[in-house]
């Protein structure tokens, strides 16, 4: 049952990410819902599950993108592990700390993904406007996504 809930959450998040990017992007920039879901899962779920969420959200983004396959999966897996280490030392339950974490991790993951793309495929996928705007959009929406996922966890035991 819980596994089905996880699958549903994964599918719904993927659907929302796709719909938002396809219909609500402004000048080609939209918040990265999959990233926020991976981050929230990393904060809320147990580490092994958090990393599997990170990996599969990354695979989803790899599937959608036109760049190297596996780069997002690696990036978000590393991010989930990073958050697992981080939350031992910092309180990531508060809204402000989530905003800061989303902002910093957005930038770090974008730079890391850029590095992977350059190393493995010599493709430069990162646009300056995305780098300058997307982390702030992610940070602004992070507490809301966290609240939603926390409610789901409390009510249905997902995550």
């Amino acid at each position: 049952m819980i596994f089905t809930g996880d699958l549903l959450l994964y599918a719904m998040t993927g659907l929302v990410h796709w719909w938002w990017a396809a219909n609500l992007s402004i000048f080609g920039v939209a918040p990265n819902i999959a990233f926020m879901a991976a981050l929230t899962a990393a904060i809320l779920a147990r580490p092994a599950k958090a990393m599997s969420y990170g990996f599969f959200f990354g695979v989803y983004l790899d599937l959608l993108g036109s760049n190297i396959f596996g780069a997002y999966a690696l990036t978000y897996t590393l991010m989930a592990y990073g958050v697992y280490i981080l939350k031992r030392h910092f309180d990531l339950i508060g809204g402000f700390s989530q905003i800061i974490a989303a902002l910093m991790l957005s930038m770090l993951t974008m730079l890391f993904y850029q590095g992977l793309s350059l190393v493995f495929a010599k493709i430069n996928p990162l646009e300056l406007k995305a780098f300058l705007v997307e982390p702030f959009l992610n940070a602004a929406l992070a507490p809301f996504v966290f609240y939603l996922f926390a409610r789901l966890k409390k009510r249905f035991g997902i995550l």
Binding site: P47, A48, L63, L64, G65, F69, L74
Partner: protein, 286 residues
Amino acid sequence: MNREKDLANYAFVFFVFLSVLLLLFPSTRIAQTARILASYSLYPSLHYGAKYDHYIRNVPENFLNILKTDQENRDLKNKIKELEISVKAAQAAEAENQRLTGELGLSRNLGLKGVWARVINRNPLDWHGAFFIDKGVKAGITPNATVMGFENARLGLAGRVLEVYPDFSKVLLITNGVSSVICSAPGARFEGLAEGKGTWLLKVNYIPEGSEIAEGMELMTSPGGLLFPQGLPVGRVARVHPKESFMNFITADVAPAVSINSLKEVYVIKRELPADLYGLSEGVKK
């Protein structure tokens, strides 16, 4: 706690290993085709103009042809949209060309020398009062010069030049509340004073009672007026008001010969006016 830590470390190593495998080993033909199908279906715009040689490796040629055809189809649709816009622009240019050709022919038949000017500005607060044209002193425009308008192969009096600047002029329209034109009907034995009312209609006053004025009658500028050359169409009588008569005169509403609000070009007649009418000291601005 330690068990969870171990589990976390195992999961980390496992997923990193899996990711690196995905990164290092090229995808199989089927996986790559499935991936391109999924991403192309969800985000076709991603592929426009992108250098996706790396991306389309291992993808069967016939499948690529479908993608290329789809992209070509989208490009052609965009081109059709652009061409539709071009066709609209060409139609507008053709209509303008026809209008200008007609106006040019009319001005030649007019027999009065002048210059063409475009209407460049209207004041919404003074819509029936005045507008600006793009010719001024440099084009030989003088104050009080007669301004003609053209509409659908018809010409008509539009107003007179009120102020002249080096590169543009202000035209006082006949519909302005302070404008007046002495006019008469061809073959009739009366003269009246067509005055602007600040609306699209003119009002003709001082027509002697018993004059043969009737609705539909065309009024022209009269030889009695010094400002305007005689014989220029002023307008057509829309309504006669005998009950509004005062003293022994009657009045009538007159629709201007041309729709003054929709004029795009005007013809400014150059002619010698009596020196007193030039009003150079007042009309010319620097």
